[in-house]
Amino acid sequence: MEKLTSPYKWGMVIDLDRCTGCGACVVACQAENNVGICEKQEIAEGRNMHWLRIERFWVGEYPDVRVRFLPVMCQHCQDAPCEPVCPVYASYHNPDGLNGQVYNRCVGTRYCGNNCPYAVRVFNFYPHEWPKPLDNQLSPDITVRARGVMEKCSFCIQRIRRAKEESSAEGRTIQDGEIQPACAQTCPAEAMTFGNLADPASRAARLARSPRRFHLLEHLGTHPSVVYLKGGGREHV
């Protein structure tokens, strides 16, 4: 059988020393990916649909208290716990190293969500409405997910696909910086860098070699494609 290879292995580096926790990425993600608007009750039940959330940690007690922010989206694990448990192969691994989700295969068992240690998969427990004319804003590039479907961050795969089509029409490979997911594009502090980790010269790959690097819940051995760089300065130099 022919081996599936790709010159790309998409990944993201998030510099927590730059991140201010402002929340611009959260809204940008929601705008780009047709993420449903959740009512208060829905969020109270723990069923918020955001693909990207900002974890906030209080460290210490007053007056020696600090705050740490941690933007968490799908980590696109190379050994993803969500993939082997899907009975219908809705959750799959693509050759670019992305952890894909095929919405029209999903039957809503939620096994993948249960198995995800990062709690980044969100399930459409309710049908989501875009009261007219809010539906005009919905992006034509992405499906609007129905009730009963699991969804999650795709690293803005529609943007990756578009760049691939354009680059292959021009007979070249995608250049560094050509693709930016909505979150990285809007981040005021430029904390997020997206790129091809298979290309050692890409900006993301260079940043990912920083001594400040760590993976989220590294001990689980999921080998995520998202690399965090520790913030906090003096404590961590």
Binding site: D15, A24, Y62, L70, L134, N136, Q137, E190, G233, R234
Partner: protein, 736 residues
């Protein structure tokens, strides 16, 4: 048929199908039965450059438009203020355009005021009603009975409204915003003899000392400073800028600090002067900079002799060694930078405190230096680049005129009923105005009071120009253009003014002969580049629109800050607070919400759903209480509490917040709308109702000088937070 022939034929069929499929480009797959509109290719998006009008920072945006619908707002990478970046509010501006509760045509009130009963009328009826009323006012001997209330205005709209009011004969144009930096202009005038707002070179500084300047969420130009903050931290190979935040509440900005100094409210000025004394006593000041500023170090040190370490430590409640450390680090880690913010300025001694902070910059030579502070780009007070801002005292003057019955009609753009603190008496004064016209896009609190609603276009349907507030050292002029055809039968505010001018005739029509605001914009361009030929102007106009504005190349402007020779360092007076300490033991801080600014974002569901970064609360208001204070009052996370100030009381849920002084509580601004569409209506509370009025010097209002008491009511606070109060993971587990 033989098996082999079958396979050959089958193979050929498949191959020819593939060949045919490969030929076409994507566009050819969709037959053009009806030729598309010019420039519209199905499935292909177009990007239009415009400017964000969500706050005065005026960032450049690119709007992705597909099949005539706006899909996504992105930052304009060529814009020098935001460099392709955008904040949450800017991202959400799309929903203003497609808000389901937008007013779709002119409305006239049919029930009593505030009842929300309106009947639909046509634009010609509406404009007749408006111009008839204004004509009556013109016939009166006192034509000053018309008032115009707007947010801060820049560019051609500022000029147009100025001409309109002047030609009408009224001086009552109020462009007041609660969060406008008039206090900073005033302090600059005292200290440097000029009112220009500062541009802080955050990206190049090595030591940042912020006295309550919340530049990540709202101070001056948040996206610009958020970006510069990232570069300050990790943009340089060997230097990581240090950040110390001073303020009784750890704000979102303060959360990124390396050191947090929770000084007592109102003691920041004393702290700044104490730091200045330590720097002078240790001879750590910049001697050349001081002699340039005409300050003699010995004299200044003698002047500051009262600010000894013990007194400063007592006044601020901070540890002595941390004050000494910060003084040494600030003076020796150059370039350093001290910023003053709203929470300092909104104290009764705010002006003196802000000036003391400016002295710190002067003392260590941070003025006009890379990594220091410069005057921001020119904002001339005349011509096409006018900026219209009104001070708090002008608001009080207008309220007095309203009360005296001198104002017969008010044209209101914006939502002052929600954003002006009720203690000023604005809302009652507005009730006495017989004719109110609102230009709201949704039925907000102000529109509910109006006689006539003339719905404005959404920002993405509007023409305009913007001079960004203090976001750059060079001149930046941003343009706004409609990216979609208007959804409803609405008209742009400026177009309504022009139509009214032509209906009224006389000097007004002569002063404003243009038929539409686009023409007016083009005309002001022609004035700006008057040396150009006419055909060049048309070309220039197209260039401006396609690029999103005119951005002057990076060159050092002429302006500099220089400590004014007449500037005297005033001692910050002991801070005054409304409410006795024994009855109202807690200091109340109201602060602009990250998502809603002063409340304008609350109508948009994306922003309501955005968890507040610090408390993770969604869809509501909350009060932040220190854990110790909360436990002494028997309050736990999510309890319903009653907050009582000398003026009024409110009920809202409590959030136990480790980053706030035990003698303080804080409530975000923005919620508590009575109108504002389905997403904002009757949600949360407006903490402005709690505030008492205390004036500092020059009638600067002290909005952070009210004391309150908090009592627990029940455990049903209806608080919904998206995150676990402690964070989802154990911090040590992930090594954060």
């Amino acid at each position: 048929m033989k098996r082999r022939t079958f396979l050959q034929l089958g193979g050929m069929t498949v191959a020819s199908a593939f060949l045919a499929g490969c030929q076409g480009q994507n566009e050819k797959l969709i037959p053009y039965l009806i030729p598309p509109d010019e420039g519209v290719t199905p499935g292909k998006a177009t990007y239009y450059a415009s400017s964000c009008s969500g706050c005065p920072a005026g960032c450049g945006i690119l709007v992705r438009v597909s099949e005539g619908r706006a899909k996504k707002i992105e930052g304009n990478p060529r814009h020098p203020v935001n460099r392709g970046r955008l904040c949450a509010r800017g991202q959400a501006a799309l929903q203003e355009l497609y808000h389901p509760d937008r007013i779709q045509q002119p409305l006239r009130r049919s029930g009593p005021r505030g009842s929300g009963k309106f009947q639909k009328i046509s634009w010609s009826e509406a404009l007749d009603l408006l111009s008839d009323t204004l004509k009556e006012l013109q016939q009166e001997p006192n034509t000053g009975s018309l008032a115009l209330l707007t947010p801060q205005l820049t560019g051609s709209l500022a000029t147009l409204t100025g001409v309109f009011m002047r030609s009408f004969g009224s001086t009552h144009h109020l462009a007041y915003e609660l969060l406008a930096p008039d206090w900073l202009r005033l302090a600059n005038r005292y200290s440097f003899g000029q009112p220009d707002l500062p541009f802080y070179d955050l990206a190049e500084t090595r030591y940042l000392l912020s006295f309550g300047a919340d530049f990540v969420e709202n101070h001056l130009s948040p996206v610009q400073y958020g970006n510069a903050f990232g570069r300050m931290r990790q943009g340089r190979d060997t230097v990581r800028g240090h950040f110390t935040y001073i303020g009784g509440r750890m704000s979102l900005t303060g959360a990124s600090a390396d050191r947090w100094m929770p000084a007592k409210p109102g003691s920041e000025g004393v702290l700044a002067l104490g730091l200045a004394r330590l720097i002078l006593a240790g001879s750590l000041h910049d001697k050349a900079a001081l002699s340039n500023s005409g300050i003699r170090p010995e004299e200044l040190l003698a002047r500051l002799r009262n600010y000894d370490l013990q007194r400063v430590a007592d006044a601020t409640g901070l540890a002595k060694n941390s004050i000494v450390e910060v003084a040494r680090e600030f003076a020796t880690t150059r370039p350093s930078l001290a910023m003053a913010g709203e929470s300092v300025a909104f104290q009764s001694n705010g002006l003196e405190a802000v000036r003391a902070i400016q002295l710190l910059n002067t003392l260590v030579g941070n003025l006009n230096r890379p990594g220091g502070v410069y005057p921001a780009s020119a904002d001339p007070s005349t011509g096409a680049l006018l900026r219209k801002e009104s001070s708090f005292s002008e608001l009080l003057a207008l309220i007095a005129s309203m009360r005296a019955g001198k104002i017969k009609a008010a044209l209101i753009k914006g939502n002052p009923v929600h954003t002006v603190p009720p203690v000023t008496g604005f809302q009652e004064a507005l009730d006495t105005v017989p004719f109110i016209v609102s230009f709201a896009t949704v039925l907000d609190d102000t529109a509910l009071q109006a006689e006539l609603i003339l719905p404005d276009h959404a920002a993405l349907e509007s023409w305009g120009d913007v001079v960004p507030l203090a976001g750059s050292r060079t001149m930046v002029y941003g343009t706004m253009q409609p990216v979609v055809t208007p959804l409803y039968d609405t008209r742009q505010f400026a177009d309504v003014l022009l139509a009214t001018a032509s209906r009224l005739g006389g000097p007004l029509a002569a002063a404003l002969p243009e038929e539409s605001f686009v023409e007016y914009l083009k005309f002001s361009q022609a004035q700006r580049f008057s040396s150009e030929k006419e055909e060049d102007l048309e070309l220039l106009w197209v260039e401006l629109l396609s690029g999103g504005g005119h951005f002057a190349p990076d060159q050092a402007p002429e302006k500099h800050y220089r400590w004014a020779s007449s500037a005297v360092i005033a001692d910050p007076p002991t801070p005054a607070f409304a409410g006795e300490a024994n009855k109202f033991p807690l200091h109340l801080q109201v602060y602009p919400s990250t998502a809603f600014h002063d409340g304008r974002g609350a109508v948009l569901p994306w922003l309501q759903q955005l968890p507040d970064p610090m408390s993770t609360v969604v869809w509501g208001s909350w009060i932040e209480i220190n854990p110790k204070t909360a436990s002494s009052l028997g309050i736990s996370q999510g309890d319903l509490v009653e907050v009582t100030s000398p003026r009024s009381s409110l009920r809202l849920p409590a959030v136990v917040y480790p980053g706030i002084r035990p003698d303080m509580v804080a409530i975000p601004l923005g919620q508590g709308h009575h109108g504002g569409g389905r997403y904002a209506k009757d949600r949360g509370v407006n903490p402005l109702t709690l505030l008492s009025l205390l004036n500092g010097k020059e009638q600067l209002a002290a909005w952070n000088a009210t004391r309150v008491r908090v009592t627990r009511i029940s455990k049903k606070g209806d608080l919904v937070s998206a995150g676990h109060p402690e964070g989802s993971y154990r911090g040590d587990l992930i090594g954060i």
